[in-house]
Amino acid sequence: MTEAGSGAATAAGASRHAGRVDPLVVLGLADDALVYAQRLGEWLTRAPEIEEDMALGNIGLDLLGQARGLLTRVGELDGTGRDEDALAFWRDEREFRNVQLVERPRGDFAHEMARLLWFSAHRLERLRQEQQSPDEVVAGVAGKAVKEVAYHRDHATQWVLRLGDGTEESRARMQQALVDVAPYLPELTEDDPVGAPVAREYVEAVLAEAGLGAPPEPRWHARGGRTGIHSEAMGFLLAEMQHLHRTHPGASW
């Protein structure tokens, strides 16, 4: 199940990057990681068991590391010379290019695992493509990140299996979480037409093994994250993340 379709992803990655590297595409990849790391950071001290505080902290740290590497590169590629902090703390909402899935407020643990499963399945395919990026820095970050995100996907997989095949309650919560997350998936799909089917195939196999039904097609779905259109939750997320840094312009920390 793990390696299915990676050959196709590699070929697509090469064609996708036949031309120059688009800093906005890299920014999307960076912002997904930054914003999701921000949400995962909220779990520390709130997880169902101490091992999970550590695991979610680890995943958040990995993503934060990916975000930092990519943001630094964006500041070089787009010619503005902004460093990682300038990009993280001084951009306004409309300049963030993350998909809306990652900015959703923290839900229960089932919602987090549904989000993590879909997110990491898609991100893994994207990163596999970016390993072929003509930009060495981006390719380098992706190369390291592939291993990390494969672990994230595995972590979510294990939990979705446990929750799906655990108790009545966990099964109901997991199923509901999948329904609630569904409207945020088309953004991931549109973002990566080549990798998305592979990601979907992976997740559906997990859901089948867990005895969970695939959620129905949502009536509404999120759109616009990659062009800077976000949900109501995003303003609060940024207010919290950016407030201290912006209160002391020019200060070093």
Partner: protein, 337 residues
């Protein structure tokens, strides 16, 4: 009927056995050798250790909260990463210590239940709030610093699993302390507002840090007599190696020059070098505040415990699901075999 009124049921419940245990255990302690889980040990030694390790583990877990409070607001991505890693380390410390306690036949869920019911304590220092970013620095520098001073002697504690957990933990705490110092160093050399923030944090955390070494060994306080005999016993058992006041003095002696390097003032007008003692003299600690906060009347006691309980209760269905899943799969595995 629990059988306690029946008297000794077997030879291991007789005085004879108790004496053998005493001799074996006493021999190891006298030779300054490690006691291991399989060694016979007096019940009081075991109980003291379980209590102390549990309290220590709880402190690591509750201690995640005051700093966790700043993860989403950390002022740079580098600081955010360092802070997340630190809070995660503390969770790991909690796990090592619960595991060490489990070697004595208690389990983590039992200990957590006692914490949540308010029947076991955690370090009172975490009942103070983190009001600014500089508090993250002050906690690293002072609170981790004081913890290390307390914990390094525990690396030679007579109980093997506890001592080994402490060796691992002290190494990481030492990174934390350095990172805290570095946060304050940067703030103290930053803008006027940053410098003020750093000084304010040190003003608030200095005295509570000194209280972390516990009440004086002299017995000059309300619970003095009890404290004194407790200390004596723990020392005889090799659980405690130094008196509270000695460790506190060492901490002050080590920290004063560091404060000077930072260019921050420790909030104690009586702080001065004593030529004759060869130590820094310091002012009177407000032990009334210590007992008050320990007794539940601190700014964050209720909040810390409520936060911890809430996480535990909200996670109950997840833990139940994991247990149910494991049981089903164990059963299926047997069926297949």
């Amino acid at each position: 009927m629990d059988g306690s009124q029946v008297g000794p049921l077997n030879a291991a419940e007789t005085e004879d056995y108790a004496q053998v245990v005493e001799e074996h255990f006493g021999g190891l302690i006298d030779a300054d050798q490690r006691i291991e889980p399989r060694d016979a040990m007096p019940a009081a030694y075991r109980d003291t250790l379980v209590r102390q390790m549990a309290q220590h583990a709880h402190s690591e877990i509750i201690g995640m909260q005051p700093e966790g409070n700043w993860i989403t607001r950390a002022p740079s991505l580098r600081r955010k990463a360092i802070l997340m890693a630190k809070v995660q380390d503390e969770a790991g410390h909690g796990l090592y210590l619960y595991s060490a306690a489990e070697t004595l036949g208690v389990d983590r869920s039992e200990l957590l239940a006692k914490l949540h019911a308010g029947k076991q304590k955690y370090s009172s220092i975490f009942n103070y709030p983190t009001l600014t970013w500089a508090d993250v620095g002050a906690i690293g520098w002072l609170v981790d610093g004081a913890a290390i001073m307390n914990q390094v002697p525990l690396c030679r504690c007579s109980y093997g699993p506890y001592a080994r957990a402490m060796v691992r933990i002290c190494k990481e705490e030492s990174f934390h302390q350095r990172q805290g110092f570095e946060i304050l160093w940067t703030l103290a050399r930053g803008t006027e507002a940053q410098r003020e923030m750093a000084q304010d944090a040190v003003d608030r955390w200095w005295w509570p840090s000194l209280m972390m070494f516990g009440p004086p060994d002299t017995g000059e306080n309300v619970n003095g007599a009890a404290t004194q005999s407790h200390t004596k016993q723990s020392m005889a058992w090799g659980i405690k190696r130094f008196a509270n006041d000695d460790l506190r003095q060492k901490f002050v002696d080590m920290t004063v020059p560091q404060a000077e390097k930072l260019g921050l003032t420790l909030p104690d007008p009586d702080l001065r070098w004593s030529e004759e003692r060869g130590h820094w003299d310091f002012g009177e600690i407000d032990w009334e505040e210590f007992w008050r906060v320990l007794g539940g009347d601190g700014p964050c006691n209720a909040q810390r415990l409520a936060h911890r309980r809430q996480a535990h209760e909200e996670g109950a269905w997840v833990r139940e699901a994991a247990a149910a899943y494991a049981a089903k799969h164990a059963a299926r595995g047997q069926g297949a075999a």
